[in-house]
Symmetry: C2
């Protein structure tokens, strides 16, 4: 069995479910096409029946023969043998939207959690939309305020499910005016790259690289070269000053190298073994 | 008479008119306090009576003895002697919100236009909010779409009133999710610094420097070091890729040097004759 980790498909919410379904079709393709075995994980939502049934219908329509739903509403359920079994044979686990804290609260540290990591390391595709996107990182945004300038205290962070290190993910990004809160999040720890994923947009993460698919764009916010901030002098509610933040806007087809914190140019696309850095990365 | 140009107060709209009125009080202070002679210019709005009366009441409340309204609804009116006279004795002309195209269409190239420039060069304060902010630059945003990723064709530009060069101003910035459209605007001509001014927030421009006042922040978008863009390959409606854009977020009290394209650190504040550059500007 391959020990190459699987791919992550991290979706900014509101992915198309009625038209060409570009993103969900790509999830299916990566998971093995019609031979895919997809588990729709509804742990994030309080409406598992409705949300789960929707995705089962969609994946069925796309042509996946083996799609089933698995809900976790207690930690006991996530420690049961049935939980392990659900993940063991899947080629893809798809996390629906809802509340990302439900994911970490109900799955964190359970046998299901361990099984998800094991299967991901073995090559299983892990996909998530909205809350299911936010929970992918080591540190995640729990909640926050939109349509505001960056401030202390407008974004609440918590540990995530640790599938992708070094990033903080925000979703429904352009649509809900979330630049301010993502700037606030990365300012607090510039090690984290902020990934603002628009609706009906996703990144497909393969090791240190990701590629954008879907309709909108992904905004990468890099505070690594922050030249000035007033972070040390301000308190909750105060406005943040941030100088020298780098932003990359990447629509469909554009790629990025996470560890190098640099876009990968189009011509590098053929060469995946030794990515060439973008010119801003001299 | 002093030949030092006056100050510009460029307001991101929705400035406080009932509470401490920080921004409008600063306009009054700069214009001479209770000795200020303020002309409320309602050219941008189709409701000059209502909008004008509001500001007259406010400036009166702040303690300005001489505040009057001047409306221009035809180019003839902007070429009349009364138009010149209105501006000639003012210490401040305050442009209300409305539609920025009305400002350029009705004032552009008129005697009033010339008189405004002459008086500004002589030291008169020029203030404007919302549409009255947008029109200040050489190239202005006429209209655009909010809450979207940057795309070709989502922002319409036109010549402005040319009071401040080298910038494109957007207002109601965080509140209306306008990062995408301002990124689109500066991508098309990276010579322009994008200034995204939040509601109840303003910049006070003094020569090449500005300082932020008010409640929110000003986002400075600098595409001068753009490392990659797909601009040449895309058409109207297509998504823009932009890599290596620098963003500065500046709340109240923070300053910026326009020509140097660099924030001015707090400690430089005393030293206005020879501004020291921010550390990101080596």
């Amino acid at each position: 069995m391959s020990k190459r980790p699987g791919k992550l498909v991290i979706i900014g919410g509101a992915e198309d479910k009625k038209g060409d379904m570009e993103i969900l079709r790509e999830v299916v393709r990566l998971a093995g096409g019609k031979h895919a075995r997809i588990v729709v994980m509804t742990v994030a939502t309080e409406l598992p029946i409705e949300v789960g049934a929707d995705y089962i219908e969609i994946f069925d329509k796309i042509g996946v023969a083996d799609v089933r739903m698995f809900d976790v509403s207690t930690r006991e359920a996530a420690n049961a043998n049935s939980a392990i079994k659900a993940v063991e044979d899947a080629t893809c686990v798809f996390f629906t939207g809802g509340d990302q804290v439900r994911v970490t609260k109900l799955l964190g540290g359970t046998r299901m959690d361990a099984a998800l990591h094991k299967r991901y390391e073995e090559g299983m595709v892990l996909a998530g939309t909205s809350a299911g996107a936010s929970m992918m990182s080591n540190t995640m945004i729990v909640s926050g305020v939109g349509e505001t300038n960056p401030k202390i205290g407008i974004v609440e962070m918590a540990p995530g499910m640790e599938f992708v290190p070094g990033v903080v993910i925000d979703q429904h990004f352009a649509q809900r005016g979330r630049y301010g809160r993502l700037f606030s999040a990365v300012a607090q720890y510039p090690h984290h790259l902020g990934l603002g994923i628009d609706e009906n947009t996703a990144i497909v993460v393969d090791g240190q690289e990701f590629e954008v698919i879907g309709e909108g764009a992904v905004s990468v916010i890099d505070a690594g070269r922050l030249s000035y901030t007033n972070l040390e002098q301000v308190r909750t509610g105060d406005d943040l000053a941030l100088c020298g933040v780098t932003v990359h806007i990447l629509p469909k087809g554009h790629r990025f190298h996470l560890r190098d914190r640099a876009p990968l140019l189009q011509q590098d696309k053929a060469n995946t073994s030794e990515p060439t850095r973008g010119v801003d990365n001299e």
